[in-house]
Symmetry: C2
Subunit: 384 residues, 2 copies
């Protein structure tokens, strides 16, 4: 048993907790840099909340997924405004932008110095400026992870900036902020969260700390994701999915992922599809192919037993076989009207390149076993 | 649901992880202040480990439980040696000493400025110096809590120094360090850990984060504490109890405790008995009296259902009633030869004063319901 666990300095969770923002931020500095999306109405009260404790606020709106140009612009603004700390309020894109800005506020040089793969991959020398991450979707769990996924347009890839210093100082998870998320976003972000508690549980780096989070969250996701999709006003279901999202972040940050995320990175770099939508489109196929491969090549693998556990939890049937879990997940995706890979614009002629790019991604390395090229293509076929 | 969770910056768990100390400490500074107990042989290799990465080490041996004089002496030495960070290796007493030293290395003034109740209770202004906490018992879980319990001899009390800044930078939990713990210490520290996953689970501030830790740890404690008591060489049982201890620290730091700890503080200040021994002596009585009181006055309390869950987990009987859990715990204490309060030197004539001092302790405030004076005395009688 080997565990190396780290998370946000403080995790605050609860409906209405957003109202404590001023008290939470108090002491972090005189001027905040607020990163948010345009469509986030609750963010508009942030400057007033901060004003009540004498903290100034520079408002910065970001659009789309984080990219090197968008982050550079944000960093330049935050540096020139001499902001002391960062607040990020939005979906995973906004939370990740905030992480990168908080890191670049206390570290010199250009963003590319620190990016993996296409950049220099330097370590951050200094701890980030304090960062309060406030997710408004449920979600990526990015409020408790130590990386930001950043698109590099000139290379057509998404890569990570990664450091223990990028763990937010505070993860402020207020489920109320998700109550107004529209149905399609509820579905894709909810599936992202769901996949993020499944893959770490069956991955080849599973550990008892992360197991607790996954065991708690998987049955809740199975119960409440269909519920919240049917009725976005179901607050109990909203709260539960915010919890699942947080557990997903804790899990992926402290174990590994698997083939679904292994595909999602490269596909996200090649096609204009949301991360959650891609994970959702492939997860049933990943489960089916993984289970088959484990049965054939590693029938004693604990991951296979875990697929059986998952199947029993999500189907509610004590006699469920691993495959029943994959089938249930496929049916959930239909129910949630998750677009297939085909609907996301991917064609069979793209498979070869997708597999080539995905095969050695860091997430793929967490998959319960190494899949052959044929098996990887099979997943894409099943997800088309 | 309200959660405000914080823990050590990094939690490393695993047999043999102690060997990675140099790598873990690398970057924390040029000179370490090592706090340890005399009887800790594994600590003797710390200076050599550190030397391999060019880090110097000032060795400091502490005896007995932390007190204002012992901590002042340690702080003076660490300050005059200009140590950059602290390593604490030992039981709860040593870990707590290290916390206080790490805090006082970066904060000015005297210890009394920061002590609760009998001191000025000032907030720490600066984050502690980096602190690596390495427990050698299983145990207090103090490696992931934010307070140090310190005796103030001139006042005959134990009080806390408490701050979010006192959470260690690294909790390094290597179960191998507990393999040689003698049987009586295994029993009392193991009971301490066990009580620390029971009280937070039934307390009035239970929350889903802590629930996960308790649900995971309670059945393991019930299985492995008797096993490790019978056979100290049972490594699987040792590893499990190290895990339970860590879960106990995470739980008590992020929820509350109850009457057992409510008694343990004041009794520990009045009598020369180890914290774990006192918790062990009273826990069965606390469970019995709490269950009776809940049945009489708050039969709908979720804490009562949780006592029933605990009873089912620890007895292994799906039909167990809450009282069966208390009875099982009483039988475990006999099996582990836990000394009664009488054996610890306490007499019925002491009860009045103990209850008076315990009634308003911070741990008592977490008890599932407010107990009457008669009920508190009843617990002491049952534990005599």
């Amino acid at each position: 048993m080997q565990i190396d666990f780290a998370t946000a300095g403080r995790i605050i969770f609860g409906a209405g907790k957003m109202n404590e923002l001023a008290q939470i931020a108090n002491g972090m500095g005189e001027k905040a840099f607020l990163v948010r999306s345009k469509s986030q109405p609750a963010a508009q009260k942030v400057p007033d909340l901060l004003k009540s404790v004498g903290i100034g606020c520079v408002d910065h709106i970001v659009q789309g997924e984080p990219s090197t140009p968008s982050i550079r612009a944000a960093v330049e603004k935050a540096r020139s405004e001499k902001c002391d700390f960062v607040i990020g309020m939005g979906g995973g894109s906004v939370i990740d932008t905030g992480k990168a800005v908080a890191a670049m506020l206390s570290n010199n040089g250009d963003l590319m110095d620190y990016l993996e793969v296409v950049g220099l991959g330097h370590k951050l020398e200094q701890p980030s400026k304090p960062y309060i991450a406030i997710p408004t979707t449920a979600g990526t769990g990015s409020e408790v992870t130590r990386n930001a996924v950043i698109a590099v347009p000139e290379k057509s890839v998404k890569v990570s900036m990664r450091s223990p210093y990028m763990l937010p100082e505070v993860a402020l998870v207020d489920p109320e902020l998700t109550y107004s998320v529209p149905q399609t976003v509820t579905a894709s972000t909810g599936m992202d969260a769901f996949v993020q508690v499944i893959e770490p549980y069956v991955c080849n780096a599973a550990n008892p700390m992360v197991d607790m989070f996954c065991r708690d969250a998987i049955p809740q996701a199975a119960q409440y994701l269909p519920a919240v999709y049917q009725d976005g006003a179901n607050q109990k279901a909203r709260d539960a999915m915010a919890w699942v999202s947080l557990m997903g972040g804790l899990s992926l940050a402290n174990a590994k992922l698997g083939a679904a995320h292994g595909f999602a990175g490269p596909i996200g770099g090649m096609f204009p599809a949301a991360h959650g939508a891609i994970c959702a489109a492939v997860i049933a196929g990943v489960m089916q192919v993984n289970i088959r491969a484990l049965q054939e090549r590693e029938p004693q693998s604990p991951s296979l037993q875990r697929y059986a556990e998952i199947a029993r939890w999500i189907t509610g049937d004590d006699q469920a076989a691993p495959e029943d879990g994959a089938e249930w997940m496929s049916s959930l995706c239909r129910q949630l009207q998750i677009p297939s890979l085909g609907r996301l614009g991917i064609q069979p002629s793209d498979f070869e390149l997708i597999v080539e790019k995905s095969q050695h991604s860091s997430s793929m390395k967490g998959n319960p076993l190494v899949l052959t090229k044929t098996e990887l293509i099979r997943i894409l076929e099943l997800s088309l």
